[in-house]
Protein backbone atom coordinates (compact mmCIF):
# COMPACT_ATOMS: atom_id res chain seq x y z
CA UNK A 1 0.00 0.00 0.00
CA UNK A 2 2.95 2.32 0.54
CA UNK A 3 4.30 4.36 -2.36
CA UNK A 4 7.34 2.70 -3.89
CA UNK A 5 9.89 4.95 -2.26
CA UNK A 6 8.24 4.47 1.12
CA UNK A 7 9.47 0.89 1.40
CA UNK A 8 13.07 1.94 1.48
CA UNK A 9 12.27 4.38 4.23
CA UNK A 10 10.53 1.72 6.27
CA UNK A 11 13.33 -0.81 5.87
CA UNK A 12 15.94 1.79 6.67
CA UNK A 13 14.00 2.74 9.79
CA UNK A 14 13.76 -0.87 10.96
CA UNK A 15 17.48 -1.39 10.46
CA UNK A 16 18.28 1.87 12.21
CA UNK A 17 16.09 1.02 15.19
CA UNK A 18 17.50 -2.48 15.57
CA UNK A 19 21.03 -1.10 15.41
CA UNK A 20 20.19 1.49 18.03
CA UNK A 21 18.66 -1.17 20.27
CA UNK A 22 21.63 -3.51 20.04
CA UNK A 23 23.96 -0.68 20.95
CA UNK A 24 22.37 -0.31 24.39
CA UNK A 25 24.39 0.01 27.55
CA UNK A 26 27.27 -1.94 26.09
CA UNK A 27 28.53 0.92 24.02
CA UNK A 28 31.94 2.30 24.70
CA UNK A 29 31.52 5.69 26.20
CA UNK A 30 33.78 8.61 25.69
CA UNK A 31 35.97 9.52 28.58
CA UNK A 32 35.24 13.17 28.06
CA UNK A 33 37.29 16.17 29.03
CA UNK A 34 40.45 15.92 27.02
CA UNK A 35 41.88 18.59 24.80
CA UNK A 36 38.80 20.83 24.83
CA UNK A 37 40.24 22.69 27.76
CA UNK A 38 38.78 23.91 31.02
CA UNK A 39 35.09 24.69 31.41
CA UNK A 40 33.93 22.88 28.31
CA UNK A 41 32.90 19.37 29.19
CA UNK A 42 32.20 16.85 26.46
CA UNK A 43 31.55 13.14 26.41
CA UNK A 44 28.92 10.57 27.14
CA UNK A 45 28.01 8.97 30.45
CA UNK A 46 25.97 5.81 30.74
CA UNK A 47 24.30 5.21 34.12
CA UNK A 48 22.48 1.97 34.97
CA UNK A 49 21.08 0.22 38.03
CA UNK A 50 18.68 0.79 40.93
CA UNK A 51 15.18 1.64 39.76
CA UNK A 52 14.60 3.38 43.09
CA UNK A 53 17.29 5.95 42.29
CA UNK A 54 16.51 6.18 38.59
CA UNK A 55 13.96 9.04 38.65
CA UNK A 56 16.12 11.45 40.66
CA UNK A 57 19.35 10.68 38.76
CA UNK A 58 17.48 11.03 35.48
CA UNK A 59 16.23 14.46 36.48
CA UNK A 60 19.68 15.50 37.71
CA UNK A 61 21.15 14.32 34.40
CA UNK A 62 18.64 16.42 32.50
CA UNK A 63 19.64 19.55 34.43
CA UNK A 64 23.34 18.76 34.07
CA UNK A 65 22.99 18.42 30.30
CA UNK A 66 21.17 21.75 30.10
CA UNK A 67 24.18 23.58 31.48
CA UNK A 68 26.70 21.32 29.69
CA UNK A 69 25.39 20.84 26.14
CA UNK A 70 28.48 18.84 25.15
CA UNK A 71 27.65 16.03 27.57
CA UNK A 72 25.24 13.22 26.79
CA UNK A 73 23.97 11.19 29.78
CA UNK A 74 21.85 8.07 29.46
CA UNK A 75 20.15 6.74 32.59
CA UNK A 76 18.82 3.19 32.59
CA UNK A 77 17.15 1.07 35.27
CA UNK A 78 17.70 -2.64 35.56
CA UNK A 79 18.12 -3.05 39.31
CA UNK A 80 21.01 -2.71 41.76
CA UNK A 81 22.51 -6.06 40.77
CA UNK A 82 22.58 -5.06 37.12
CA UNK A 83 24.12 -1.69 37.98
CA UNK A 84 26.91 -3.22 40.03
CA UNK A 85 27.78 -5.92 37.53
CA UNK A 86 27.60 -3.57 34.52
CA UNK A 87 29.94 -1.05 36.11
CA UNK A 88 32.36 -3.81 37.18
CA UNK A 89 32.50 -5.07 33.60
CA UNK A 90 32.99 -1.57 32.26
CA UNK A 91 29.72 -1.75 30.34
CA UNK A 92 28.59 1.52 31.86
CA UNK A 93 30.30 4.42 33.61
CA UNK A 94 28.18 4.68 36.74
CA UNK A 95 26.31 1.92 38.54
CA UNK A 96 23.43 2.96 40.79
CA UNK A 97 22.89 0.76 43.83
CA UNK A 98 20.79 0.83 47.00
CA UNK A 99 23.24 -1.41 48.79
CA UNK A 100 26.98 -1.50 49.38
CA UNK A 101 28.88 -3.37 46.66
CA UNK A 102 30.49 -5.44 49.43
CA UNK A 103 27.07 -6.84 50.30
CA UNK A 104 26.37 -8.22 46.85
CA UNK A 105 27.76 -11.68 46.25
CA UNK A 106 29.78 -11.99 43.07
CA UNK A 107 30.97 -8.37 42.96
CA UNK A 108 34.63 -7.50 43.42
CA UNK A 109 34.08 -4.40 45.52
CA UNK A 110 37.79 -3.61 45.67
CA UNK A 111 37.88 -2.21 42.16
CA UNK A 112 34.79 -0.03 42.61
CA UNK A 113 34.73 3.46 44.06
CA UNK A 114 31.72 4.37 46.16
CA UNK A 115 30.04 7.79 45.96
CA UNK A 116 27.15 8.11 48.40
CA UNK A 117 24.82 10.71 46.93
CA UNK A 118 21.52 10.46 48.78
CA UNK A 119 19.60 8.82 51.58
CA UNK A 120 16.55 6.82 50.83
CA UNK A 121 14.00 6.18 53.55
CA UNK A 122 11.58 3.28 53.62
CA UNK A 123 8.44 2.86 55.65
CA UNK A 124 6.65 -0.17 56.97
CA UNK A 125 3.14 0.12 55.56
CA UNK A 126 -0.12 -1.60 56.36
CA UNK A 127 -3.65 -1.65 55.05
CA UNK A 128 -5.32 1.42 56.66
CA UNK A 129 -7.71 -0.63 58.80
CA UNK A 130 -5.43 -2.92 60.80
CA UNK A 131 -5.36 -0.42 63.67
CA UNK A 132 -1.64 -0.33 64.44
CA UNK A 133 0.40 2.90 64.63
CA UNK A 134 3.67 1.75 66.08
CA UNK A 135 5.57 -1.51 66.19
CA UNK A 136 8.78 -2.46 67.92
CA UNK A 137 11.53 -4.04 65.90
CA UNK A 138 10.90 -7.29 67.76
CA UNK A 139 7.21 -7.25 66.77
CA UNK A 140 8.10 -6.61 63.13
CA UNK A 141 10.56 -9.49 63.19
CA UNK A 142 7.91 -11.77 64.70
CA UNK A 143 5.42 -10.73 62.00
CA UNK A 144 7.80 -11.26 59.12
CA UNK A 145 9.17 -14.57 60.41
CA UNK A 146 5.60 -15.81 60.74
CA UNK A 147 5.56 -16.06 64.54
CA UNK A 148 2.70 -13.55 64.84
CA UNK A 149 -0.14 -14.12 62.42
CA UNK A 150 -2.94 -11.91 63.74
CA UNK A 151 -2.94 -8.14 64.18
CA UNK A 152 -4.62 -8.40 67.62
CA UNK A 153 -1.39 -9.87 69.01
CA UNK A 154 0.29 -6.49 68.47
CA UNK A 155 -2.67 -4.37 69.59
CA UNK A 156 -4.60 -4.09 66.36
CA UNK A 157 -7.89 -5.49 65.08
CA UNK A 158 -8.73 -9.18 65.10
CA UNK A 159 -7.49 -9.63 61.55
CA UNK A 160 -5.22 -12.18 59.92
CA UNK A 161 -1.88 -10.74 58.79
CA UNK A 162 -1.31 -10.79 55.02
CA UNK A 163 2.42 -10.74 54.39
CA UNK A 164 3.67 -9.09 51.19
CA UNK A 165 7.36 -9.80 50.60
CA UNK A 166 9.59 -8.01 48.14
CA UNK A 167 11.54 -10.10 45.63
CA UNK A 168 14.48 -11.90 47.21
CA UNK A 169 17.65 -10.06 46.34
CA UNK A 170 16.00 -6.69 45.70
CA UNK A 171 17.81 -3.74 47.25
CA UNK A 172 14.78 -2.76 49.32
CA UNK A 173 14.44 -6.26 50.75
CA UNK A 174 18.17 -6.44 51.47
CA UNK A 175 17.93 -3.20 53.48
CA UNK A 176 14.86 -4.47 55.34
CA UNK A 177 16.54 -7.81 55.99
CA UNK A 178 19.67 -6.25 57.43
CA UNK A 179 18.47 -3.23 59.39
CA UNK A 180 14.95 -4.21 60.47
CA UNK A 181 15.02 -8.01 60.56
CA UNK A 182 18.60 -8.02 61.89
CA UNK A 183 19.39 -10.82 59.45
CA UNK A 184 16.56 -13.16 60.48
CA UNK A 185 15.11 -15.08 57.54
CA UNK A 186 11.65 -13.94 56.44
CA UNK A 187 8.78 -16.41 56.12
CA UNK A 188 7.56 -17.23 52.62
CA UNK A 189 4.61 -14.92 53.11
CA UNK A 190 1.38 -14.79 51.17
CA UNK A 191 2.59 -12.85 48.17
CA UNK A 192 5.91 -11.81 46.70
CA UNK A 193 6.13 -8.79 44.40
CA UNK A 194 8.93 -6.80 42.87
CA UNK A 195 7.46 -3.54 41.64
CA UNK A 196 6.76 -0.82 44.22
CA UNK A 197 3.60 0.21 42.37
CA UNK A 198 2.14 -3.27 42.64
CA UNK A 199 3.10 -3.55 46.30
CA UNK A 200 1.33 -0.24 46.98
CA UNK A 201 -1.78 -1.44 45.16
CA UNK A 202 -1.86 -4.77 47.02
CA UNK A 203 -1.34 -3.26 50.47
CA UNK A 204 -4.01 -0.62 49.87
CA UNK A 205 -6.70 -3.11 48.87
CA UNK A 206 -5.96 -6.29 50.82
CA UNK A 207 -7.35 -6.47 54.39
CA UNK A 208 -4.59 -7.13 56.93
CA UNK A 209 -1.77 -6.55 54.44
CA UNK A 210 1.69 -5.42 55.53
CA UNK A 211 4.80 -4.63 53.49
CA UNK A 212 7.37 -1.86 53.04
CA UNK A 213 7.84 0.90 50.49
CA UNK A 214 10.17 3.77 49.68
CA UNK A 215 8.57 6.89 51.16
CA UNK A 216 8.17 8.39 47.69
CA UNK A 217 5.42 5.82 47.23
CA UNK A 218 3.51 6.74 50.40
CA UNK A 219 0.04 7.93 49.72
CA UNK A 220 -3.26 8.16 51.58
CA UNK A 221 -4.36 4.63 50.83
CA UNK A 222 -1.66 2.86 52.86
CA UNK A 223 -0.74 3.53 56.47
CA UNK A 224 2.89 4.05 57.45
CA UNK A 225 3.77 2.52 60.81
CA UNK A 226 6.38 3.89 63.20
CA UNK A 227 9.28 1.64 64.14
CA UNK A 228 10.22 1.81 67.86
CA UNK A 229 8.33 5.10 67.99
CA UNK A 230 10.42 6.71 65.26
CA UNK A 231 9.19 7.88 61.87
CA UNK A 232 10.98 8.03 58.51
CA UNK A 233 11.79 11.71 58.90
CA UNK A 234 15.10 13.41 58.28
CA UNK A 235 15.61 14.02 61.99
CA UNK A 236 14.89 10.49 63.19
CA UNK A 237 17.05 9.02 60.43
CA UNK A 238 20.02 11.34 60.80
CA UNK A 239 20.16 10.78 64.57
CA UNK A 240 19.99 7.02 64.17
CA UNK A 241 16.59 6.55 65.83
CA UNK A 242 14.97 5.21 62.68
CA UNK A 243 16.72 2.15 61.21
CA UNK A 244 14.99 1.58 57.88
CA UNK A 245 16.95 3.61 55.33
CA UNK A 246 19.76 3.14 52.84
CA UNK A 247 22.38 5.20 51.10
CA UNK A 248 21.93 5.70 47.37
CA UNK A 249 25.32 4.89 45.86
CA UNK A 250 26.86 5.83 42.55
CA UNK A 251 29.67 3.38 41.85
CA UNK A 252 32.48 3.96 39.37
CA UNK A 253 35.16 1.54 38.32
CA UNK A 254 38.27 3.07 39.86
CA UNK A 255 38.62 6.85 39.84
CA UNK A 256 35.94 8.53 37.72
CA UNK A 257 36.89 10.32 34.50
CA UNK A 258 36.68 14.10 34.44
CA UNK A 259 33.19 14.32 32.99
CA UNK A 260 31.83 11.56 35.26
CA UNK A 261 33.35 13.29 38.28
CA UNK A 262 31.77 16.57 37.23
CA UNK A 263 28.37 14.91 37.11
CA UNK A 264 28.78 13.23 40.51
CA UNK A 265 29.94 16.56 41.99
CA UNK A 266 26.82 18.15 40.52
CA UNK A 267 24.61 15.55 42.22
CA UNK A 268 26.44 16.30 45.49
CA UNK A 269 26.12 20.08 45.09
CA UNK A 270 23.82 22.02 47.41
CA UNK A 271 21.64 22.88 44.45
CA UNK A 272 20.71 19.24 43.87
CA UNK A 273 21.01 18.02 47.47
CA UNK A 274 18.68 20.61 48.94
CA UNK A 275 16.57 21.08 45.83
CA UNK A 276 15.86 18.13 43.61
CA UNK A 277 16.62 15.39 46.13
CA UNK A 278 14.28 16.85 48.74
CA UNK A 279 11.60 17.55 46.14
CA UNK A 280 11.60 13.91 45.12
CA UNK A 281 11.31 12.70 48.73
CA UNK A 282 14.86 11.56 49.29
CA UNK A 283 17.16 13.09 51.91
CA UNK A 284 20.51 14.82 51.34
CA UNK A 285 23.52 12.75 52.24
CA UNK A 286 25.38 15.53 54.07
CA UNK A 287 23.16 15.80 57.12
CA UNK A 288 23.76 12.24 58.26
CA UNK A 289 25.11 12.00 61.79
CA UNK A 290 25.11 8.20 61.84
CA UNK A 291 27.76 6.22 60.07
CA UNK A 292 26.97 3.06 58.20
CA UNK A 293 29.56 0.69 56.86
CA UNK A 294 29.20 -2.34 54.61
Amino acid sequence: MLPKKGWFGVIFLILAVSLALTAGCGQKSGTGGGPQGEGKLTGTIVVAGSTAMQPVIEEAAKRFMESNPGVQITVQGGGSGTGLSQVSQGACDIGMSDIFAEEKAGIDAGQLKDHKVLVQAFALVTHPEVGVDNLTKQQIQDIFTGKITNWKEVGGRNQKIFLVNRAKGSGTRATFHQYVMDGKEEAKGDVEQESSGTVYQIVSQTPGAVSYLAIAYLNGKVKPVKINGAAPTEEDISTGKYPFWAFGHLYTKGEPSKVVKAFIDFVLSDEVQNGLIREMKYFPVKGMKVERKP
Binding site: S85, G106, K188, E194, T198, Q205
Partner: protein, 296 residues
Protein backbone atom coordinates in the same frame (compact mmCIF):
# COMPACT_ATOMS: atom_id res chain seq x y z
CA UNK B 1 11.98 0.22 -19.45
CA UNK B 2 12.80 -3.46 -19.30
CA UNK B 3 16.19 -2.66 -17.87
CA UNK B 4 14.60 -0.64 -15.08
CA UNK B 5 12.23 -3.45 -14.20
CA UNK B 6 15.06 -5.92 -14.06
CA UNK B 7 16.99 -3.61 -11.80
CA UNK B 8 14.00 -3.20 -9.52
CA UNK B 9 13.43 -6.92 -9.48
CA UNK B 10 17.00 -7.51 -8.42
CA UNK B 11 16.87 -4.78 -5.79
CA UNK B 12 13.66 -6.16 -4.32
CA UNK B 13 15.05 -9.66 -4.33
CA UNK B 14 18.26 -8.73 -2.53
CA UNK B 15 16.41 -6.62 0.03
CA UNK B 16 14.01 -9.43 0.91
CA UNK B 17 16.84 -11.92 0.99
CA UNK B 18 19.03 -9.85 3.29
CA UNK B 19 16.13 -9.15 5.66
CA UNK B 20 15.33 -12.86 5.83
CA UNK B 21 19.00 -13.57 6.47
CA UNK B 22 19.09 -11.05 9.32
CA UNK B 23 16.03 -12.67 10.88
CA UNK B 24 17.60 -16.12 10.67
CA UNK B 25 20.92 -14.91 12.07
CA UNK B 26 19.18 -13.13 14.95
CA UNK B 27 17.26 -16.27 15.88
CA UNK B 28 20.41 -18.37 15.73
CA UNK B 29 22.27 -15.83 17.84
CA UNK B 30 19.53 -15.86 20.48
CA UNK B 31 19.49 -19.65 20.61
CA UNK B 32 23.27 -19.86 20.91
CA UNK B 33 23.42 -17.14 23.56
CA UNK B 34 20.63 -18.67 25.65
CA UNK B 35 22.16 -22.10 25.33
CA UNK B 36 25.56 -20.84 26.40
CA UNK B 37 24.22 -18.77 29.31
CA UNK B 38 21.63 -21.35 30.34
CA UNK B 39 24.01 -24.28 30.48
CA UNK B 40 26.50 -22.34 32.61
CA UNK B 41 24.80 -23.78 35.71
CA UNK B 42 26.22 -27.14 34.68
CA UNK B 43 29.46 -26.15 32.98
CA UNK B 44 30.63 -23.45 35.42
CA UNK B 45 28.79 -24.01 38.68
CA UNK B 46 28.70 -27.83 38.49
CA UNK B 47 25.13 -27.98 39.72
CA UNK B 48 23.69 -31.48 39.73
CA UNK B 49 20.51 -32.44 37.90
CA UNK B 50 18.87 -33.50 41.17
CA UNK B 51 19.56 -30.02 42.57
CA UNK B 52 18.19 -28.11 39.59
CA UNK B 53 15.11 -30.27 39.14
CA UNK B 54 14.06 -30.08 42.78
CA UNK B 55 11.56 -27.80 44.52
CA UNK B 56 14.08 -26.19 46.89
CA UNK B 57 14.86 -22.58 46.02
CA UNK B 58 17.48 -20.95 48.25
CA UNK B 59 19.92 -19.45 45.76
CA UNK B 60 21.26 -17.01 48.37
CA UNK B 61 22.04 -19.46 51.18
CA UNK B 62 25.68 -20.13 51.93
CA UNK B 63 27.02 -23.66 51.65
CA UNK B 64 27.08 -23.98 55.45
CA UNK B 65 23.30 -23.53 55.74
CA UNK B 66 22.34 -26.19 53.23
CA UNK B 67 22.55 -23.97 50.16
CA UNK B 68 22.72 -22.94 47.51
CA UNK B 69 19.66 -24.76 46.24
CA UNK B 70 18.40 -23.76 42.82
CA UNK B 71 15.49 -26.11 42.17
CA UNK B 72 13.33 -24.83 39.34
CA UNK B 73 10.61 -27.48 39.42
CA UNK B 74 8.20 -25.14 41.22
CA UNK B 75 8.53 -22.63 38.39
CA UNK B 76 8.10 -25.22 35.63
CA UNK B 77 5.07 -26.70 37.37
CA UNK B 78 3.54 -23.22 37.77
CA UNK B 79 3.99 -22.36 34.12
CA UNK B 80 2.63 -25.68 32.88
CA UNK B 81 -0.42 -25.76 35.16
CA UNK B 82 -1.42 -22.11 34.57
CA UNK B 83 -1.17 -22.24 30.79
CA UNK B 84 -2.79 -25.66 30.45
CA UNK B 85 -5.78 -24.67 32.56
CA UNK B 86 -6.05 -21.34 30.71
CA UNK B 87 -6.20 -23.17 27.38
CA UNK B 88 -8.79 -25.61 28.75
CA UNK B 89 -10.99 -22.61 29.62
CA UNK B 90 -10.24 -20.60 26.52
CA UNK B 91 -10.31 -23.23 23.76
CA UNK B 92 -14.00 -24.23 23.95
CA UNK B 93 -14.91 -20.56 24.25
CA UNK B 94 -12.74 -19.56 21.29
CA UNK B 95 -14.02 -22.34 19.05
CA UNK B 96 -17.62 -21.45 19.91
CA UNK B 97 -16.97 -17.82 19.03
CA UNK B 98 -15.38 -18.96 15.77
CA UNK B 99 -18.33 -21.13 14.82
CA UNK B 100 -20.69 -18.27 15.60
CA UNK B 101 -18.65 -15.81 13.55
CA UNK B 102 -18.09 -18.06 10.55
CA UNK B 103 -21.25 -20.13 10.39
CA UNK B 104 -24.14 -19.00 12.57
CA UNK B 105 -24.13 -15.25 12.02
CA UNK B 106 -21.42 -14.16 9.57
CA UNK B 107 -22.84 -10.64 9.28
CA UNK B 108 -22.91 -9.96 13.01
CA UNK B 109 -19.61 -11.78 13.28
CA UNK B 110 -17.89 -9.62 10.69
CA UNK B 111 -19.39 -6.32 11.81
CA UNK B 112 -19.32 -6.66 15.57
CA UNK B 113 -17.54 -9.71 16.98
CA UNK B 114 -14.42 -9.55 14.84
CA UNK B 115 -13.53 -5.98 15.86
CA UNK B 116 -14.19 -6.89 19.50
CA UNK B 117 -11.84 -9.87 19.27
CA UNK B 118 -9.20 -7.75 17.53
CA UNK B 119 -9.57 -5.14 20.25
CA UNK B 120 -9.00 -7.78 22.94
CA UNK B 121 -5.78 -8.79 21.20
CA UNK B 122 -4.55 -5.21 21.13
CA UNK B 123 -4.87 -4.44 24.86
CA UNK B 124 -1.42 -4.38 26.50
CA UNK B 125 -0.81 -7.13 29.02
CA UNK B 126 -0.12 -4.70 31.88
CA UNK B 127 -3.73 -3.52 31.56
CA UNK B 128 -5.00 -7.08 31.91
CA UNK B 129 -2.75 -7.48 34.93
CA UNK B 130 -3.96 -4.26 36.52
CA UNK B 131 -7.62 -5.13 36.00
CA UNK B 132 -6.90 -8.58 37.39
CA UNK B 133 -5.18 -7.08 40.43
CA UNK B 134 -7.80 -4.47 41.25
CA UNK B 135 -11.02 -6.29 40.24
CA UNK B 136 -10.50 -10.03 39.92
CA UNK B 137 -8.28 -10.61 42.97
CA UNK B 138 -10.63 -8.85 45.46
CA UNK B 139 -13.60 -10.58 43.82
CA UNK B 140 -12.07 -14.02 44.36
CA UNK B 141 -11.07 -13.13 47.93
CA UNK B 142 -14.54 -11.90 48.86
CA UNK B 143 -16.69 -14.43 47.02
CA UNK B 144 -14.74 -17.64 46.53
CA UNK B 145 -12.10 -17.73 49.23
CA UNK B 146 -8.37 -17.65 49.82
CA UNK B 147 -6.35 -14.47 49.53
CA UNK B 148 -7.32 -13.85 45.92
CA UNK B 149 -3.76 -14.14 44.63
CA UNK B 150 -4.14 -17.56 43.12
CA UNK B 151 -3.87 -20.03 40.30
CA UNK B 152 -7.51 -19.28 39.57
CA UNK B 153 -6.83 -15.56 39.02
CA UNK B 154 -3.86 -16.33 36.77
CA UNK B 155 -5.89 -18.79 34.72
CA UNK B 156 -8.75 -16.35 34.25
CA UNK B 157 -6.51 -13.48 33.18
CA UNK B 158 -4.60 -15.73 30.79
CA UNK B 159 -7.77 -17.26 29.37
CA UNK B 160 -9.02 -13.84 28.33
CA UNK B 161 -5.63 -12.92 26.89
CA UNK B 162 -5.33 -15.97 24.64
CA UNK B 163 -8.99 -16.01 23.58
CA UNK B 164 -8.38 -13.74 20.54
CA UNK B 165 -5.55 -15.97 19.29
CA UNK B 166 -7.66 -19.11 19.44
CA UNK B 167 -10.85 -17.48 18.14
CA UNK B 168 -9.29 -15.80 15.13
CA UNK B 169 -7.21 -18.83 14.13
CA UNK B 170 -10.28 -21.08 14.37
CA UNK B 171 -12.40 -18.59 12.42
CA UNK B 172 -9.84 -18.51 9.62
CA UNK B 173 -9.71 -22.32 9.57
CA UNK B 174 -13.49 -22.60 9.25
CA UNK B 175 -13.72 -19.84 6.66
CA UNK B 176 -11.04 -21.50 4.56
CA UNK B 177 -13.12 -24.65 4.08
CA UNK B 178 -14.61 -25.05 0.60
CA UNK B 179 -18.30 -24.10 0.56
CA UNK B 180 -19.17 -27.36 -1.19
CA UNK B 181 -18.52 -29.30 2.02
CA UNK B 182 -21.33 -27.61 3.88
CA UNK B 183 -23.62 -27.59 0.86
CA UNK B 184 -23.19 -31.34 0.42
CA UNK B 185 -23.99 -31.95 4.07
CA UNK B 186 -27.10 -29.80 3.88
CA UNK B 187 -28.16 -31.49 0.62
CA UNK B 188 -27.96 -34.84 2.39
CA UNK B 189 -30.53 -33.54 4.82
CA UNK B 190 -28.30 -32.58 7.76
CA UNK B 191 -29.49 -29.80 10.05
CA UNK B 192 -27.22 -26.82 10.56
CA UNK B 193 -26.02 -28.15 13.92
CA UNK B 194 -25.32 -31.57 12.41
CA UNK B 195 -23.36 -29.99 9.55
CA UNK B 196 -21.26 -27.96 11.99
CA UNK B 197 -20.63 -30.83 14.36
CA UNK B 198 -19.97 -33.68 11.94
CA UNK B 199 -18.59 -31.93 8.86
CA UNK B 200 -17.25 -28.45 9.49
CA UNK B 201 -15.51 -28.84 12.85
CA UNK B 202 -13.76 -32.12 11.96
CA UNK B 203 -12.60 -30.71 8.62
CA UNK B 204 -11.19 -27.60 10.25
CA UNK B 205 -9.59 -29.60 13.05
CA UNK B 206 -5.99 -28.97 12.06
CA UNK B 207 -6.46 -25.20 11.89
CA UNK B 208 -8.34 -25.09 15.17
CA UNK B 209 -5.66 -27.16 16.91
CA UNK B 210 -3.03 -24.82 15.55
CA UNK B 211 -4.87 -21.91 17.16
CA UNK B 212 -5.04 -23.78 20.46
CA UNK B 213 -1.33 -24.55 20.41
CA UNK B 214 -0.47 -20.95 19.51
CA UNK B 215 -2.63 -19.84 22.43
CA UNK B 216 -0.81 -22.26 24.72
CA UNK B 217 2.55 -20.92 23.54
CA UNK B 218 1.41 -17.37 24.19
CA UNK B 219 0.20 -18.33 27.66
CA UNK B 220 3.61 -19.81 28.44
CA UNK B 221 5.45 -16.66 27.45
CA UNK B 222 3.20 -14.16 29.18
CA UNK B 223 4.90 -12.62 32.20
CA UNK B 224 3.60 -9.31 33.44
CA UNK B 225 -0.15 -9.82 33.76
CA UNK B 226 0.29 -13.20 35.38
CA UNK B 227 2.93 -11.93 37.77
CA UNK B 228 0.54 -9.30 39.08
CA UNK B 229 -2.20 -11.75 40.10
CA UNK B 230 -0.64 -15.12 41.03
CA UNK B 231 1.16 -14.02 44.20
CA UNK B 232 4.59 -15.39 43.18
CA UNK B 233 4.93 -17.59 46.24
CA UNK B 234 7.65 -20.11 45.53
CA UNK B 235 5.67 -23.21 46.41
CA UNK B 236 3.72 -25.81 44.48
CA UNK B 237 0.03 -24.94 45.02
CA UNK B 238 -2.27 -27.42 46.73
CA UNK B 239 -5.52 -25.91 45.52
CA UNK B 240 -6.72 -23.61 42.78
CA UNK B 241 -6.96 -20.81 45.38
CA UNK B 242 -3.28 -21.03 46.38
CA UNK B 243 -0.64 -18.63 45.11
CA UNK B 244 2.13 -19.97 42.86
CA UNK B 245 4.99 -18.80 40.68
CA UNK B 246 5.79 -19.27 36.98
CA UNK B 247 9.05 -19.35 35.01
CA UNK B 248 8.45 -15.93 33.49
CA UNK B 249 7.53 -14.17 36.72
CA UNK B 250 10.48 -15.78 38.49
CA UNK B 251 12.83 -14.46 35.83
CA UNK B 252 11.43 -10.91 35.71
CA UNK B 253 11.39 -10.54 39.49
CA UNK B 254 14.98 -11.58 40.10
CA UNK B 255 16.90 -10.75 36.94
CA UNK B 256 17.71 -7.14 37.79
CA UNK B 257 18.72 -7.90 41.34
CA UNK B 258 21.28 -10.58 40.69
CA UNK B 259 24.85 -10.20 39.54
CA UNK B 260 25.80 -11.46 36.11
CA UNK B 261 27.79 -14.67 36.23
CA UNK B 262 26.59 -15.63 39.72
CA UNK B 263 24.85 -18.96 40.22
CA UNK B 264 21.53 -17.25 40.92
CA UNK B 265 21.70 -15.23 37.70
CA UNK B 266 22.76 -18.22 35.61
CA UNK B 267 19.87 -20.25 37.00
CA UNK B 268 17.52 -17.57 35.69
CA UNK B 269 19.13 -18.00 32.26
CA UNK B 270 18.60 -21.73 32.59
CA UNK B 271 14.91 -21.02 33.25
CA UNK B 272 14.83 -18.87 30.11
CA UNK B 273 16.39 -21.76 28.19
CA UNK B 274 13.63 -24.04 29.43
CA UNK B 275 11.06 -21.53 28.16
CA UNK B 276 12.79 -21.48 24.77
CA UNK B 277 12.84 -25.29 24.59
CA UNK B 278 9.16 -25.40 25.50
CA UNK B 279 8.26 -22.88 22.81
CA UNK B 280 10.28 -24.87 20.25
CA UNK B 281 8.26 -27.86 21.26
CA UNK B 282 5.06 -25.93 20.57
CA UNK B 283 6.28 -24.69 17.20
CA UNK B 284 7.19 -28.26 16.30
CA UNK B 285 3.68 -29.30 17.31
CA UNK B 286 2.16 -26.55 15.15
CA UNK B 287 4.24 -27.71 12.16
CA UNK B 288 3.12 -31.26 12.70
CA UNK B 289 -0.54 -30.27 12.89
CA UNK B 290 -0.20 -27.98 9.88
CA UNK B 291 1.24 -30.80 7.79
CA UNK B 292 -1.68 -33.04 8.72
CA UNK B 293 -4.08 -30.30 7.67
CA UNK B 294 -2.43 -29.99 4.25
CA UNK B 295 -3.77 -33.40 3.23
CA UNK B 296 -7.15 -31.88 2.34
Amino acid sequence: MVNRNVRREFLGYSLTFSCALIAILLTLAIILFLGWKGLAVFTQHKISLTNIFSVHWWPDRPAGAGGPQVGVLTFIFGSVITSTLAVLVSAPLGVTVAVFMAEISPRLGQRFLQPVIELLAGIPSVVYGYIGLSVLVPFIRNNIGGTGFSLLAGVMVLAVMILPTIASMATDAIRALPGTLKEAALALGATRWQAIRTVILPSARAGILMGVVLGLARAFGEALAVQMVIGNRREIPHSILDPLITLTSGITMDMGNTVQGSLWNDTLWFMALILLVLSFFFIFLIRLLGRKGAVH
